[in-house]
């Protein structure tokens, strides 16, 4: 039955549900329309490749872009090994017992912990406890913890799609369980893992609350040089330009530009993830 037929049958509920859906789509188009209609005009090569000038009122956002990319790299390095190892444990080794259920419950709860609490935890553990100071390393490690539950969940799903018969084949040929995982299970599930990891990272790249007190700074001269420096990041830059700058009206176009760059960056990561997923699906067929 198509929508027209359903509509004729009982117009009121159909209209109401359509209205809800259209309103949700309106939110999306309102956000994208507002940001891109006013942000794209601020975009230029010099906006992307220049450092801020004249107390942020002129110049570009290169340090913030580089800061966010570097931060995402550290996040990946911090969360990927533990995340994949944990997913392998859950998918390949763990028996369905109470301990495993507790681990799964812990992961679900970690996914629900508000990002600001990860920020506090990063402050207490990395900045103060391990004496890393407010630095890009502390912020990256904090975001790594935040991404961990998403990476584990998506990686485990990817591992589960590998047919059991492939594992049994490897084991029957005399491979140890570790060799089976390394040579059979992981290679077969890499596209799925990559999709999940990139999506988790795109989420981490847009996070602001966890880096508020672990290392983000409003202005740093030059590009990030070492891991123990404070750094500029796109989401934090947007927050500061919008709420903390002395002349908010003057820097508004720059704020729109920053928002546009941030959304483009996040969407690009999402598109890469979907392209990997689609390519993988075609290969399966």
């Amino acid at each position: 039955m198509n929508f027209k037929a359903i509509f004729k049958e009982n117009p009121l509920p159909a209209t109401m549900l359509l209205f809800c859906t259209l309103l949700v789509c309106t939110f999306l188009f309102l956000i994208l329309g507002e940001i891109f209609s006013k942000g794209l005009s601020a975009l230029s090569w010099s906006f992307i490749f220049d450092a801020p000038k004249n107390g942020m009122t002129k110049g570009g956002i290169l340090p913030a872009i580089v800061g966010t990319l570097l931060l995402t790299l550290i996040t990946t390095l911090a969360s990927l090994p533990i995340g994949i190892a944990c997913a392998i444990y859950l998918s390949e080794y763990a028996k369905n017992n109470t301990t495993t259920q507790i681990i799964r419950a812990a992961i679900r709860n970690l996914a629900g912990v508000p990002s600001i609490i990860y920020g506090l935890f990063g402050l207490a553990l990395f900045v103060q406890g391990l004496q890393l100071g407010t630095s890009i390393l502390s912020a990256g490690l904090t975001l790594g913890l935040l991404s961990l539950p998403y990476i584990i969940t998506t990686t485990e799903e990817a591992l589960k799609t590998v047919p059991q018969s492939m594992r049994e084949g490897a084991l029957a040929l005399g491979a140890t369980q570790f060799e089976t995982i390394r040579d059979i299970v992981l290679p077969a599930s890499i596209p799925g893992i990559a999709t999940g990891v990139i999506l988790s990272l795109s989420r981490a790249a847009g996070e602001t609350a966890p880096i508020l007190f672990t290392g983000a700074a409003f202005y740093v001269t030059g590009l990030p040089g070492n891991l123990f420096q404070e750094f500029m990041a796109l989401p934090y830059h947007l927050y500061m330009l919008t709420t903390q700058h002395q002349s908010i009206a003057t820097v508004r176009p720059l704020a729109y530009g920053t928002a546009a760059v941030l959304i483009i960056l996040v969407f690009m990561l999402n598109i890469v993830a979907f392209m990997i997923r689609n390519k993988f699906r075609k290969q399966l067929k």
């Binding site: 359903i6 309102l30 629900g112 600001i116 103060q128 609350a209």
Partner: protein, 291 residues
Amino acid sequence: MNNRLRVRIDKVFKVVFRIAGFACIAILVSIFMMLLYNTVAFFSQIKPLDFITDTQWNPSRHFGLLPLLASTLLVTLGAMAIAIPLGIGTALFISEYATGFVKNMLKPAVEMLSAIPSVVIGFLGIVVISPGISNLFGLSNGLNALNGAILLAIMALPTIITVAEDAIHAVPMTVKEASYGLGATKWATVKNIVLPAAYPGIIAAIMLGMGRAIGETMTVLMATGNSLAFPTGFFSSIRTITATIAIEMGEVPFQTTHYYGLFALALILFLITMAVNVLAERMVNRIRKFQ
């Protein structure tokens, strides 16, 4: 490589993977212990009863949870009032009404909405929703609880839509076909068969969306006006628990009463979101049993 070495490597990695699994429990427990440790330090200086009953948060003398908690609950309830009908309506439309091209376009649209960083939505609250509210209601300032509620609704919508759609989609086709076979219309089937069957999943969707809204920081920090006064309604400027931590943690001296107080707030937030998520999980488990 000889076999003994291969077996040894196998055993070593078995332990490594197991440690990684237990690390997740360790992280959650350490977060909780870190919050608890600092909260205990706070309660050694401020009486817990004062923390719960004081109606003022004014960190030189007054550490009252109530205005912040009331603000958090106010924006969250407002957000849910908007997001629940919209989210469930959209989930029903995508799952039961939309077909073909429209259906294939709606899912990526919801995913795009969920991919937009919260700081961008907060920015939108300042530049679009705030002037909108002040014009519509003739207020001098549109940075208030209503603004925060609208933004949090946008943040919670993708979660609610995705989880509710999964639950609605999971209702077996045979059950729906039995209803059509008895002559029920599409809407009658949705109302009497699909919604009751998907009910636990829909509740889970609402709870998960609510958990997301309660813990959300940047949007409420940017768009609700940051007033410490006790909230009186949706037009009052407010400050939630999350926003208070975000603003004050950057300025507070290390290991003062104020510093510990912010961890106490975080502990309350942690417990609330955890309770909401555990309830949601119970609902999801109920659907699994139902199937």
